[in-house]
């Protein structure tokens, strides 16, 4: 499978973490990333996202690239787990979540070990992995930093 690991775009500060919305700049910049994915003919079978507002809003921007269902999951607000891997089914799946959990997930999928991030995902960045969604079963194919959308 192809897995696109997406960190939410730039969000406002705020005391209520769940309620933090994307900033206008965050939305505009991420729209450029979506355009880039569109130019690369990227489509998703499904998209799983965290229930936090900034992740929901990032998922919303990606929704035009999704042919199947969008699904909300609290597992993306926690350290990666086997239950989360259970949600990764399909040929082309995107997940939208938060740090440090996404880096830990990528490390786990690439190396089989969850300790120590192997990559750093900036806000609005996307990592593309391929393989089986099991610990150590995937390889990193691309890392798209947010500035690539503006290039």
């Amino acid at each position: 499978m192809e897995l696109y690991v997406v960190r939410h775009a730039i969000a406002e500060d705020g005391e209520l973490d769940d309620a933090r919305a994307l900033t206008e700049k965050g939305k505009k910049r991420f729209e450029k990333m979506v355009e880039l994915l569109g130019r690369l003919d990227v489509r998703f079978d499904r998209l799983v996202h965290s229930p936090k507002r900034r992740a929901v809003e990032t998922a919303e921007l990606l929704a035009g690239l999704v042919d199947g269902d969008l699904e909300v999951s609290e597992l993306l607000t926690e350290a990666p787990s086997k239950a989360l891997l259970g949600l990764l089914h399909g040929a082309r799946v995107a997940i939208v979540g938060h740090e440090p959990h996404l880096s830990a997930l990528v490390a786990w999928l690439l190396t089989g070990a969850s300790a120590g991030a192997v990559i750093e995902l900036k806000k609005g960045a996307i990592a593309r992995l391929e393989g089986d969604p099991v610990p150590g079963g995937m390889r990193l194919c691309a890392l798209l930093p947010p500035r690539l959308g503006r290039a």
């Binding site: 769940d18 309620a19 919305a21 996202h49 229930p51 936090k52 507002r53 929901v56 809003e57 998922a59 919303e60 929704a63 999704v66 269902d69 969008l70 699904e71 909300v72 999951s73 609290e74 597992l75």
Partner: protein, 214 residues
């Protein structure tokens, strides 16, 4: 600007009812809240969370159909009555699990963060919903009537979100609902291989369709 909060409170109460029962009202109320919130998202031009709402609503579809059949007051033989009661018990177990399901929990958490509806954006969506109703109007078959019912319901909820008068849509929806309820009974008769009952109900559905599209 409309907020989704009051509807979310209704959904949460109905989910409590689902966990406790689930009563006929709780099942109905969860489904209605899901539809209302779906229209809220449509009015805001949003796609995220709509699939989750559809999942929750449709997971209760079989139980709701069964409740509708039981509520029609049609005299049924003992075996069918027993079958319906056993089916309801079975589906009730699934409904209780659904109320505790992680996806339901995540959905409620995400809905709690929805910003109020921008009326400017919402007003742009209403004509589209009206057009959909126009396309479904003039139905001559049950399927088209079913489409019309869906379109009327969406337009009704949209108008209610925007504080507009939706009495016409409410009335039409209730009328179309009668046909759909009789059709639920017809489908049940077919599934139970009650051929004569299915034939009579099919005739009743066709007559109702003709009456409503005259």
């Amino acid at each position: 600007m409309s907020s989704a909060r009051p509807e979310l409170r209704r959904l949460s109460r109905a989910l409590d009812g689902l966990r406790a029962g689930p009563s006929v009202e709780a099942v109905h109320d969860v489904r209605v809240s899901c539809r209302r919130l779906d229209v809220f998202l449509r009015l805001g031009g949003r796609r995220a969370l709509r699939d989750d709402l559809r999942w929750l609503r449709s997971s209760l579809g079989a139980l709701r159909d069964l409740d509708v059949i039981r509520s029609l007051g049609v005299p049924l033989d003992e075996a069918t009555t027993r079958f319906l009661a056993e089916e309801r018990r079975r589906l009730a177990v699934d409904a209780r699990s659904l109320a505790r399901h992680p996806r339901t929990r995540a959905l409620v958490r995400a809905l709690a963060q929805l910003p109020p509806l921008s009326e400017e954006v919402a007003q742009r969506t209403v004509p589209r919903l009206s057009r959909r109703l126009g396309e479904a109007d003039g139905a001559r078959t049950f399927t088209r009537l079913h489409d019309e019912r869906r379109a009327v319901r969406r337009l009704r909820f949209a108008k209610e979100w925007l504080g507009l008068d939706a009495s016409g849509e409410r009335e039409r929806q209730a009328l179309l609902g009668v046909v759909c309820d009789v059709d639920a009974l017809r489908r049940f008769a077919v599934s139970r291989k009650a051929r004569e009952a299915a034939r009579l109900l099919s005739r009743a559905v066709n007559q109702l369709v003709r009456l409503l599209t005259r």
